[in-house]
């Protein structure tokens, strides 16, 4: 036992310390600094706000993303106690949480020279507050679920290797880790979950590891049933997924080819690793495994809004390195294996640039957050959120203009005489409920992204989307306000009265007996509006 325990302790210690350090770098300043994708950030602040107010994903609002994508920000909100601390704390907690299965999987299957660089790499992928493939100055927590998905899936793939020195609880821990990671993927973003399940099915063909795979699959089924017992929304989640799939599910051969060309470097390197391995093992299973690292990753990536980063390719490289080092040990010092002896250095070369890039971005966020760089969002509950540009090139006025319009919308809402009960925004995201501390809207979409989860063919009927809304904010342009207005304009004219109108927003109030008390108010703004002032009925 003792000779093995020391390296294991090294791996565990290093990864745990690193996860804690990355988590602290993220969460300690308690601020969110962002330079891009403000609108995406609002989805998840709103999501945290919804969960904190007692809503349940897919039951109280529609979303094609899994429920965990909302519970994770909510966890961050609960830990930090502020909207600005929510996303950093959430990702810090995820980084630490992922470190636990990581320690077991990597230390039982990879030697330290592989486990430590690969583990650090995966932790940084989760912790970095940028969209993968973007500049270190492009700070944002947007699409954090993609990074969680990549890291968890790439960790799961390492289970392909047989454990080096199986202990008594090996199967149990393997099953627990596999089940936890798969469930995490299934309930974060379904595309990753499907690949994880396919991988587990593939693992059934390994007779020596079949036991834990079966246990894991059993655990997954049991958990899914248990989750459904509490959640009672699995079917409506599937419906939302189908809708999103109909809008943007399929990627043509052109998209896939272009994505492949963008990742040519990574695929060439994986091919070098795979070539070295297959040269020695000549195993069909190994070939299939590398196929699983290469192929589904490409499909996931082309689904993501992400310029670069098929992280499962790196999992293939780490596993290949371990296979080469093991086969060398088994075969002794043979001359034909000389090139394969360089695999660890090649792996480090493969992992280091991205790790360094992510670490720098993490550092930039920590410094910017500590120095309180940038302009506060300006909504009462968004005090710890800031927008800045750092040194990003190009015209960034799009984001600043968007923030200005949000501020004006917030001002309009807070000037309303009656506190709205259910504010909805006919645009990408709703920053107002969370930003002003209003009750979250109910029954609508967590976000509306034209061409991604809604288009003119596939969409909810207006009664369903806007049925419960009492105040509707309609932007003049917004992120994608115009096609949405074309889609729902008729219903809005029928069911709502415009009560305020500025250059950036029109505020509508539901025409209903129960809120007629505010009709007097709307007369106050005698300025006739272009839409529906007094027609109909």
């Amino acid at each position: 036992m003792t000779p093995l325990e020391r390296p294991t302790a090294w791996v565990s210690g290093t990864l745990l310390c690193a996860a804690a350090a990355f988590g602290l770098l993220l969460a300690l300043p308690g601020q969110t600094v962002t330079t891009a994708y403000l609108n995406d950030l609002f989805i998840f602040l709103d999501g945290a706000h919804r969960i904190a107010s007692g809503q349940v994903p897919n039951r109280d609002f529609h979303t094609a993303l899994g429920p965990l994508s909302f519970y994770v920000p909510a966890l961050g909100y609960w830990i930090s106690g502020s909207m600005g601390g929510a996303m950093p704390a959430a990702m810090a907690a995820t980084t630490l949480g992922l470190a636990l299965p990581m320690i077991h999987i990597l230390s039982s299957r990879l030697r330290p020279v592989v486990a430590i660089p690969y583990g650090l790499f995966l932790l940084l992928i989760v912790a970095v507050p940028t969209n993968l493939g973007e500049s270190i100055a492009s700070l944002s927590f947007a699409m954090f679920y993609n990074r969680i998905g990549w890291a968890a899936l790439s960790l799961l793939l390492v289970l392909y290797l047989q454990p080096g020195n199986p202990g008594s609880r090996q199967n149990l821990l393997d099953a627990l880790c596999a089940a936890a990671l798969t469930l995490m993927l299934v309930y974060t973003k379904a595309t990753y979950g499907l690949v994880a399940l396919a991988f587990l099915a593939f693992m059934l063909f390994d007779s020596r590891q079949r036991r834990w795979v079966l246990w894991a699959l059993g655990l997954i089924v049991l958990s899914a049933l248990l989750i459904e017992a509490f959640w009672q929304s699995s079917l409506s989640h599937l419906e939302d997924l189908v809708l999103a799939g109909q809008v943007s599910g399929t990627r043509g051969i052109v998209d896939l080819s272009l994505a492949f060309l963008r990742h040519m470097t990574d695929y060439v390197l994986l091919a070098i690793f795979a070539g070295l391995v297959l040269w020695r093992t000549r195993s069909l299973r190994d070939l299939l495994f590398f196929g699983i690292c290469a192929g589904p990753g490409l499909i996931i990536q082309s689904q993501n809004s992400q310029p670069w980063g098929i992280i499962t390719v790196f999992a293939g490289a780490a596993v290949a390195t371990e296979i080469l080092l093991r086969s060398r040990r088994l075969a002794g010092h043979e001359s034909h294996g000389i090139l394969a002896q360089g695999a660890p250095l090649l792996l480090i070369a493969f992992l280091l640039p991205t790790s360094l890039h992510c670490f720098m971005a993490l550092g930039v966020h920590s410094i910017a957050a500590t120095a309180r760089t940038g302009e506060p969002f300006g909504l009462p509950r968004f005090g710890e959120l800031r927008l800045t540009t750092l040194w990003l090139p190009g015209n960034r006025s799009f984001m600043t203009d968007y923030l200005m319009s949000i501020r004006e919308g917030a001002r309009l809402l807070s000037e309303l005489p009656v506190k709205p009960e259910n504010v909805s925004v006919l645009d990408f995201a709703n920053p107002f409920s969370a930003g002003l501390g209003l009750p979250p809207s109910r029954g609508d979409y967590a976000w509306l992204h034209w061409g991604r989860n809604i288009n003119d063919v596939n969409h909810l009927p207006p009664e369903q989307l806007l049925g419960g809304v009492d105040v509707l904010m309609v932007p003049k342009a917004g992120i994608n306000g115009i096609p949405l207005r074309n889609l729902y304009g008729t219903y809005i004219q029928e069911a709502f009265d415009p009560i305020r109108h500025t250059d950036l927003w029109t505020v509508y109030k539901r025409r209903e007996a129960s809120v007629l008390s505010s009709v007097g108010q709307s007369l106050e703004h005698a300025k006739p509006s272009r839409v529906g002032a007094g027609d109909g009925m």
Binding site: V113, S135, I136, A137, V254, S257, L258, L261, R262, M264, T265, V268, L269, I272, L325, R328, R329, H333, S335, H336, I338, L339, A340, Q341, G342, A343, P344, L345, L346, I348, A349, F350, L352, P353, L356, H357, M360, L390, W391, L392, P393
Partner: protein
């Protein structure tokens, strides 16, 4: 498997054969297929056309580019006989020419496992019709001189390594290669030439290699004097370079842009750091450290001047030197294998392969795409006379294709207007980046103007050739009309008009106006006299 282990292998013939193969791929179809930067292509072809018409660079037209770039494209024009065959033939010729010093330098200094991939990598960089760092489908010959410069420099800096043999023949060939490469860079683009000269000076510090480096420096100076005797335009060239330098500056861009530019090349810097770090750990010499630092800094200074995001090929050259250094130190302590069963020498080979193989495959894919597209006559031929062998293809490059189509429409409109004129117009200047009309109409080019008016690159509001000089010999001015887009106001056209408009207004008469162009003809006499003449007729 001799390649893996033993040194004696014919590197030279393999590289020469590879160069011949790549040259055939490029030149055989006799067509230029491009998907973007059509105007840059016309700038290049106009240069070739001018030289073919008997003009001498810097004597008869202004250009910051070295004369070799023009004579090379003119040679392509002469050999192929068509403007469409010009660039493929020219670059095929260049690939063959570069293979000669490459075969000697790499064969005499690098292990075959390094020499062959590195040599093929450099040949592909010259042969591929894509601006470095761009996608496989971004076919264009724009900025071909940058790729020549990188490849030549990539060969030259390998001479930092001491050759395996030190006989008289070696010194003689070393001198010849170093001289030829340095002259090539000096007369293609001076930023490369300056770095090459600095490298030769640095090589004087190596006692064993001082002989060839001193010889090369001497012969280079002598050759420059002889070239000046024949060319008689060195000072004019330097003046044009000074102008371009004043427009752009030594270190272009804001600090943020510079940081981002370094970060785009982060992977290469990290990999060089890794491999050079290992090599330095072995040799512990200050000279090696200085060499790697020189490559890292000088490479960035060059790319900073280029229109190119990624691709500091000097880093790859430095990595080849580092890898060879590791291999040599390893063979000195023969048989030593690191504990743990992995070897640094094998790692260095793989790491170097990882640096060059992805780009080599990427370039080979792009080159093959060009060959295939040219062979099946993909896309549409440019609908201008003499340019039938230039084809614009849509290879999933929808935006670029639309831009090119619109641009061709504008050109067609201008050409129709020019062809209607009688007598046949000649000595035409286009107030735009490039001039396609002279070559399309077979019209004699003007003297003293420039084929390349790129705002903020070859001229700016503070630094430009005065109108009286630039337009002295010009008979026709084609002024494009601004496009309808709101960006047009910020584009280069208003700036060019501000600089040259007043002179044109005084000395030229409006000859015709079309949808896209205003045509001006030189007023026959002084403006006052011209008025009188108009009155008479």
């Amino acid at each position: 498997m001799r390649l893996w282990t033993e040194r004696p292998m014919k590197v030279g013939p393999i590289l020469l054969a590879a160069a011949a193969f790549l040259a055939l791929l490029l030149a055989l179809p006799g067509q230029t297929v491009t998907t973007r930067y059509l105007n840059d292509l016309f700038v290049i072809l106009d240069g070739a056309y001018r030289v073919a018409a008997g003009q001498v660079p810097n004597q008869d037209f202004h250009t910051p580019l070295g004369p070799f770039a023009y004579y090379l494209s003119a040679a392509g024009y002469a050999l192929s006989g068509t403007l469409g065959g010009t660039m493929p033939t020219a670059m095929a010729l260049m690939t063959l020419l570069l293979a000669l010093p490459m075969a000697h330098v790499l064969g005499s200094r690098l292990h075959p496992f390094l020499a062959i991939p590195y040599g093929v990598f450099l040949l592909l960089i010259v042969a591929v019709p894509v601006n470095l760092g761009e996608g496989v489908t971004s076919l264009s010959f724009a900025k071909f001189y940058n790729r020549i410069g990188w490849a030549a420099l990539g060969v030259l800096i390998v001479m930092y390594l001491r050759p395996l043999s030190t006989d008289r023949r070696q010194t003689l060939l070393d001198t010849a290669c170093a001289t030829a490469l340095t002259l090539l860079m000096l007369y293609t683009k001076l930023s490369y030439g300056a770095v090459a000269l600095a490298f030769l000076l640095f090589m004087l510090s190596d006692r064993q290699q001082r002989r060839w480096s001193a010889n090369a420096l001497g012969i280079t100076i002598l050759a420059a004097l002889i070239i000046e005797l024949i060319w008689q335009s060195s000072l004019a060239h330097l003046a044009d370079l000074q102008l371009a330098f004043d427009v752009g500056g030594g270190l272009r861009g804001t600090w943020g842009q510079i940081v981002d530019h370094v970060l785009v090349n982060l992977t290469d810097y990290v990999l060089l750091g890794l491999i050079a770090g290992i090599a330095l750990y072995r040799t512990r010499t200050v000279r090696d450290l200085l060499f790697y630092a020189f490559c890292a800094v000088a490479g960035f200074l060059i790319i900073n001047q280029n229109f190119q995001a990624w691709g500091i090929i000097m880093l790859h050259g430095a990595a080849a030197v580092a890898a060879e250094t590791i291999l040599r130190s390893e063979s000195r302590q023969a048989g030593a294998i690191d504990p743990g069963g992995w070897s640094t020498a094998a790692g260095a080979k793989l790491l170097f392969l990882a640096m060059v193989l992805p780009t080599a495959i990427h370039s080979l894919a792009a080159l093959s795409l060009h060959t295939a597209a040219a062979s099946i006559r993909a896309g549409n031929a440019v609908t201008l006379p003499n340019l039938e062998q230039v084809r614009v293809a849509n290879l999933w490059t929808w935006n670029d294709y639309d831009t090119a189509t619109a641009y061709q429409e504008v050109l067609r409109d201008g050409l129709d207007a020019l062809s209607r004129l009688d007598p046949k117009p000649e000595r035409i200047l286009v107030l735009d980046t490039g001039n396609v009309f002279s070559m399309a109409l077979n019209a004699p080019p003007a003297q003293g103007d420039t084929p390349w008016l790129q705002w903020d690159r070859t001229l700016g509001s503070a630094n430009h050739i005065p109108a009286e000089t630039l337009l002295a010999d010009v008979q026709f001015v084609m002024e494009p009309k601004p496009a309808d887009s709101p960006d047009a106001a910020k584009g280069p056209l208003p700036q060019l008009q501000a600089v040259y408009g007043p002179y044109i207004a005084v000395n030229f008469d409006a000859a015709e106006e079309t949808q896209h162009w205003k045509l001006y003809r030189r007023a026959p006499l002084a403006p006052e006299a011209a008025l009188n003449q108009d009155g008479r007729s």
